[in-house]
Amino acid sequence: MLCGALAFTACDIYPVEPVVQPSKDADLDGQKVDVTGLGTDAKKIFVLNEGGMGANNATLDFLRMSDGTYVTGAFKKMNPDVGAGLGDVGNDIAVRGNEVWIVVNNSGIVEVLSAKDETEIAVITIPTPRNIAFDDNYAYVSSWAGAYAEYNSDYSIKDYSNPKGRVYRINLKTKTLDSKTVEVGYQPEGLALRNGKLYVANSGGIASSLPPSYAYDNSVSIINTASLSLEKTLEVQVNLKNVWFDGSSDLYVSSLGDYYSTHSGIYRIDAQETVTHIGDYVSVAAMFDGTLYCIGNAQEFDFYTTERTWKGWKCKGGAVSEWPVSIGSGTPYGLTVLSSDACLIGDAGDYFNPGTVSLYRQGSKRWSVNAGVCPGHFALW
C-alpha cells in the first residue's frame, strides 16, 4: 500500500545516492531457502523478533529474495557501533520508502534504518511506544505512557487509575518528534489511517489488572490528523489489538477478547463508521490485497493443554471464507501474506528460546528457518 509513495520518498530522502552500488549488507550470509515463485516483487522481507522483556534481545532478520538467504541479527551486524543492539522488545516494524521503521517498546525508541543495508538513520525517543502508521508527512506512534495520574508532593501517586495513552507523531523528513500529541484510550495498540483520520485501537491491557475498574478498554479513538485532535470514540469490543485498512473502504479491528467469555475476533468499521462483528478466533492476522487473513484457535479458553488446533480464515468486504492452513501444534506469533498462495508464519515456540519462520504454500509448510525470540512482525521492501 506504500508503493505509490515509494519512489517519491526515496529520492526525497536520498537525493545524492548513487544509482548502482552493491548494498553494504550483501556479504551477510544465512540460511538458504527456496523463494522461487512466491508471487511477490519484494526485494527483502524483514522479520522483527520481539525478544523477551528485560532481556534486550530484540533482533532484526531479513529474507533476501535475490538469493533466498535468511539473515539473522542484521541490526547488530550492520550497526556494530550500537553496542546495545536493537533493544528491548521490538513491537512493530514498517517499511516506508527506503526506510525501515522499528518500534522498540521497552527501550522507548523508534529506530529508523536504511532498508537497503539496515544501517541506522535516526533514533527517536518515545516512552513505551507500541505501533506505527504513516501518512505523507508523519509517522504516528501509539504510546502507553501518555497522561499521568495526579501525584502527591512526595511523588506517591494520588490516583493512578487513569493512565490513558497517547499518539505521538514524527516528522518524516526531519525525524523529529512533533511537540503536539493527542490523548487516546487506555493502552493504545495498533493504528491505521483512512481518509485523513487515524484510527487507534485501545486495549486497556494494563487497566484490566489494576484497581478499581479491572476493566479492558473497548474503544477505537478516531483522530483528525489535520488538527491532531480526538474527533470521536467508537465502541467496538474489549481488549483491541490491531487495525488494518483494506485500501478501499473498510477498516478491520482485532480484539483479543477477555480470555474467559469473550472470544478473540475481528470487527469491521465501514465507511459510515458502523461496527459489525465479522468472525471469532484471531491469534495472528495480516492484510493482503484487500483481504484480511486470520489464524485462530477455537479452543482458546482451554488453557490447560499444550494441544492446539489452529484454523485459518479470511475476510474480504465483510464476507468470511475458509483459508486452509495447517499449522500443527505450533504457536503462530506473526503472519505476512505474500500472495494468494504463499505466506510466512513466525512461530514463537516457548516464547523464551529462539523461534522459527516458515513458508507456507497452499496451506502447507515448505520450509522453516531459525529466527530470534518471538518472531512476530514482518515488513516487505
Binding site: G54, A55, N56, D81, V82, G83, A84, G85, L86, G87, D88, V104, N106, S107, G108, I109, V123, T125, I126, P127, T128, W144, A145, Y148, A149, Y151, Y155, I157, Y160, P163, G205, I206, S209, L210, P211, L256, G257, Y259, Y260, S264, S283, N297, Q299, E300, F301, D302, F303, Y304, T306, T331, Y333, G349, D350, Y351, F352, N353, P354, N370, G372, V373
Partner: protein, 662 residues
C-alpha cells in the same frame, strides 16, 4: 548485599574438619551423643562465632560452597537466591533455628536480607538432614540451608558488641548486640541499620561506562532472643522485625535518550515471632514444640512519574503465616535406635491488590516418621514424609476465570547410609524424593490460574567419599561427591492458545548429573597457621522436557558446567589475612545453548586483612575487651561481570569495619 560485604573470612578455620565433633553436636550437647550423631554430615558447615572476619550477608557465606549457585542481581539491595545441585531455588529450604523461612507467594527467599550477626553456624545439606527432634519440614526440603543461633556464653553475665562497617557505594552499616544472662535465662538483643546509595560504574555494552542508579537501600533490623534451660529442657524465643526501602535498578537494556532504566521502588516490613521448646523427659522420650507467626508486607511501585516508560503499577502485598510443629522422639533401651514422629501444620494467606485480587489461603499438614540407627561404624536413617495442602481463595471482585479450591498431597521417602570402615575414611549415600508445592504466583497471579497443577517432584541420589589425614602440624581432608538428580513435573510457564495469556503446567523435566570435590588442608606452627580450601563443582543439568523440541538435551539456563572457589588464609598472632576467589564457568541464559545467549565465565577475588587488639581485663571481669579491625578489598582485579544477564555486578570495592566487644 555481597558487594557491601564480600569479606574474605576464615572459612576453613571454622569448618568441619577441625571442628568436626563440635559441629556435630551443636546445640544439644547434653543429650546422648550417639543419638545425636547425624547420619549424613552437612555438606558444608561454617561456625561463624569462631571466624575472624565474617561476611555480613549469608549469601556471601553460601556462594563459595560446592553445589551452590547464588543468583545475584547485583548491588547492595539486589535479590540473592540460592540454587543447590540445579534443583531450583523453590526446592531449597532456608531454616532459622529449625523453622523454615517460607514465601508462599513465589517460594523465593532473598538471602541478601539475612545478616550473619548473631548466628552460630551456617550449614548446607545437599542431601538429607537427619537429626533428632527436627521438624517435619526439615525432612521434606530438597536441599536445605540452616542458620543456627547459639546460646551466648557469658562468663561475666553480660556482653556488649558494637560494630561499624562502611565503604564504597556510600555504605554505612552500624550494628550492636547486647547479651545478658539472668539465672537460667539468657537474652540477646541486636539491632542493625544499613544505608547505601548502591551506585557503581559498569560497562554499558561497548558504549562506555554508566553509573548504576536507583539502587539505593535503607534497612533496619531489630531482634531479640531468649534462651532458657529448664530441667534439661531448652526454650527459645525470637522476635524479629525488619524494614527496608529500596530501588530496583532494573535490567540494563537499550534505552531512549533521557529515559531511566527503572524507577521501581519496593518497601518491606517483615515481622515474626518464633519459638521452640525441646525437652528430654527421661532419656528415652523427648519432645520438641515449635511455632512461628510471620507477617510480611511489601509495597511495589513503578513510579511512572519518574519513568514515563514504566507501566503504572502500584501494588501492595501482605503475606501471613502461622506454623506449629510437634515432634516426638523415642529411644528404646537398646539405644542404638531412635524413632521420630514429626507433625507440622502451617497456614499461609496472601492479600494483594495485584492481578484480580484473589486472596489465596493454604493449609498444609506435613508429617514425617523417621528412624535412625547407629551401630559401631555403621549408621542409617530412613523416613517417610507426607505433605497435604488445601488451597482455597476468595475473590474480591467478580469476573475472570474460574478457579477451584484444590487439595494436593505427596509421599516423600528417603534413605541414607553411612559407613566409616577406617578412622580416616567415611562413605555415605542417600536417595530421596521430595516435592514442592506450586506457589500462589504459579496458581493465581502471573497467569491463568491452574488448579490442576501438581507438586513439582525432585528425586535426589548422591554418594560421599570422605578422607581425612593429620600428621604433626598438617591436616588434610578430601570430599568427593558424585550425584544424580531428576526434577519431574517441573512447573513451567507456557503461553496458552491465547498467546497473551500464560498458564503454568507440570511439563518440565530436568536430569542433573554432577560431581563436587573439596580439598582442605592446614598447617600450624608456632604463631603461624595456614589454611587452604579448594572447591570444584561440575553440573550437567539437561532439559528433557520435550523430545520434539529444539532445546531437548541442552543445559538449562544459568547452570555453569564448571564452578569453584579457592580460599586461602594466613593467621599470625592477632593478624589474619584471607584470600577468596570464586570462579564460574560459561553458561547460557536460555535453554537454546547458542552464542547469542552465552554468558561469559567470571571470577572475582576478594582479600581481607584483620587485626584484633585485646585490652587488659578489667577487675572482676573474666573476659578482656576486644577491638577487631578489618579491611576488605573486594573484586581486586576489577572484573566486570554479570551473574544474571542484564544485571551488572560491581567492580573493585572496599569495605572497612571496626568492632568493639566488652
Amino acid at each position: 548485599m555481597r558487594n557491601a560485604a564480600a569479606i574474605a573470612f576464615l572459612l576453613l578455620a571454622v569448618s568441619a574438619p577441625l571442628q568436626a565433633q563440635g559441629a556435630d553436636t551443636l546445640a544439644a550437647a547434653h543429650i546422648l551423643a550417639a543419638r545425636e550423631l547425624p547420619v549424613i554430615r552437612a555438606s558444608e558447615e561454617v561456625k561463624l562465632s569462631e571466624a575472624v572476619a565474617v561476611p555480613q550477608a549469608v549469601a556471601d557465606v553460601l556462594r563459595r560452597f560446592t553445589g551452590v549457585q547464588v543468583k545475584d542481581y547485583g548491588g547492595v539491595g539486589g535479590l540473592k537466591t540460592v540454587n543447590v545441585r540445579s534443583l531450583g531455588s523453590e526446592h531449597i529450604g532456608i531454616f532459622i533455628d529449625g523453622i523454615q523461612v517460607d514465601n508462599a507467594q513465589n517460594m523465593q527467599v532473598d538471602l541478601g536480607r539475612f545478616s550473619t550477626d548473631g548466628l552460630g553456624t551456617v550449614s548446607l545439606y545437599n542431601g538429607q538432614k537427619a537429626r533428632r527432634l527436627q521438624s517435619a519440614k526439615e525432612y521434606i526440603s530438597g536441599a536445605s540451608v540452616h542458620l543456627e543461633s547459639e546460646r551466648p556464653v557469658l562468663p561475666d553475665g553480660f556482653s556488649f558488641l558494637a560494630r561499624l562497617r562502611g565503604g564504597y557505594f556510600g555504605t554505612v552499616n552500624p550494628s550492636f548486640q547486647w547479651d545478658q544472662a539472668a539465672g537460667a535465662l539468657a537474652f540477646r538483643t541486636s539491632a542493625e541499620f544499613l544505608a547505601s546509595n548502591g551506585q557503581y560504574r559498569f560497562p554499558y555494552f561497548d558504549e562506555g561506562m554508566l553509573l548504576r542508579e536507583n539502587s539505593d537501600i535503607m534497612s533496619a533490623r531489630i531482634e531479640t532472643q531468649l534462651f532458657a534451660t529448664v530441667r534439661g529442657g531448652e526454650l527459645r524465643l525470637r522476635l524479629y522485625g525488619y524494614g527496608s526501602e529500596r530501588g530496583f535498578p532494573g535490567p540494563v537494556i537499550r534505552k531512549g535518550t533521557g529515559l531511566p532504566f527503572s524507577a521501581e521502588r519496593q518497601a518491606d516490613q517483615d515481622l515474626s515471632a518464633q519459638g521452640s521448646w525441646q525437652q528430654d523427659w527421661n532419656g528415652h522420650y523427648a519432645t520438641a514444640l515449635r511455632f512461628k507467626y510471620a507477617n510480611n508486607y511489601t509495597h511495589y511501585n513503578t513510579h511512572p512519574e519518574k519513568n514515563p516508560a514504566a507501566l503504572p503499577y502500584d501494588l501492595h502485598y501482605r503475606q501471613q503465616s502461622v506454623y506449629g510443629s510437634f515432634v516426638h522422639s523415642f529411644v528404646p533401651s537398646w539405644s542404638h535406635l531412635a524413632l521420630d514422629l514429626a507433625t507440622d501444620l502451617q497456614w499461609n494467606a496472601l492479600e494483594s491488590d495485584a492481578g484480580l485480587s484473589v486472596t489465596p489461603q493454604r493449609l498444609c499438614f506435613i508429617g514425617a516418621l523417621a528412624a535412625r540407627l547407629v551401630w559401631e561404624k555403621f549408621r542409617a536413617a530412613a523416613h517417610i514424609g507426607y505433605l497435604g495442602a488445601w488451597d482455597w481463595f476468595t475473590r474480591t471482585q467478580s469476573g475472570a476465570w474460574d478457579k477451584e479450591n484444590a487439595f494436593r498431597d505427596a509421599w516423600m521417602p528417603s534413605l541414607s547410609l553411612f559407613y566409616a570402615p577406617l578412622p580416616w575414611l567415611e562413605l555415605d549415600a542417600f536417595v530421596k524424593r521430595s516435592f514442592r508445592l506450586p506457589s500462589f504466583n504459579d496458581l493465581y497471579y502471573r497467569t491463568i490460574g491452574n488448579s490442576d497443577l501438581s507438586p513439582e517432584s525432585a528425586l535426589q541420589t548422591g554418594i560421599d567419599l570422605h578422607l581425612k589425614a593429620a600428621s604433626g602440624p598438617w591436616t588434610g581432608e578430601l570430599r568427593l561427591s558424585p550425584y544424580y538428580n531428576r526434577v519431574d513435573q517441573k512447573i513451567v510457564a507456557i503461553p496458552t492458545a491465547s498467546q497473551f495469556r500464560w498458564t503454568m503446567l507440570n511439563i518440565g523435566k530436568v536430569d542433573i548429573g554432577g560431581l563436587e570435590a573439596r580439598a582442605e588442608g592446614s598447617y600450624a606452627r608456632g604463631d603461624w597457621t595456614l589454611l587452604a580450601t579448594l572447591r570444584y563443582t561440575f553440573q550437567r543439568a539437561v532439559d528433557h522436557s520435550d523430545a520434539g523440541s529444539a532445546t531437548w538435551g541442552n543445559q538449562i539456563p544459568y547452570i555453569p558446567l564448571h564452578s569453584g572457589s579457592v580460599d586461602f588464609s594466613l593467621l599470625w598472632r592477632k593478624w589474619s589475612f584471607s584470600w577468596n576467589t570464586v570462579l564460574t564457568g560459561g553458561r547460557w541464559s536460555r535453554t537454546a545453548n547458542t552464542d547469542d545467549y552465552y554468558i561469559a565465565p567470571w571470577s572475582t577475588t576478594d582479600v581481607s586483612l584483620a587485626r584484633t587488639i585485646r585490652f587488659r581485663t578489667p577487675k572482676g571481669r573474666s573476659r578482656a575487651p576486644e577491638l577487631s579491625l578489618a579491611l576488605n578489598l573486594n573484586n581486586i582485579f576489577n572484573q566486570y561481570y554479570q551473574i544474571v544477564q542484564g544485571y551488572p555486578m560491581p567492580g573493585f570495592h572496599l569495605m572497612a569495619s571496626a568492632q568493639f566487644r566488652f
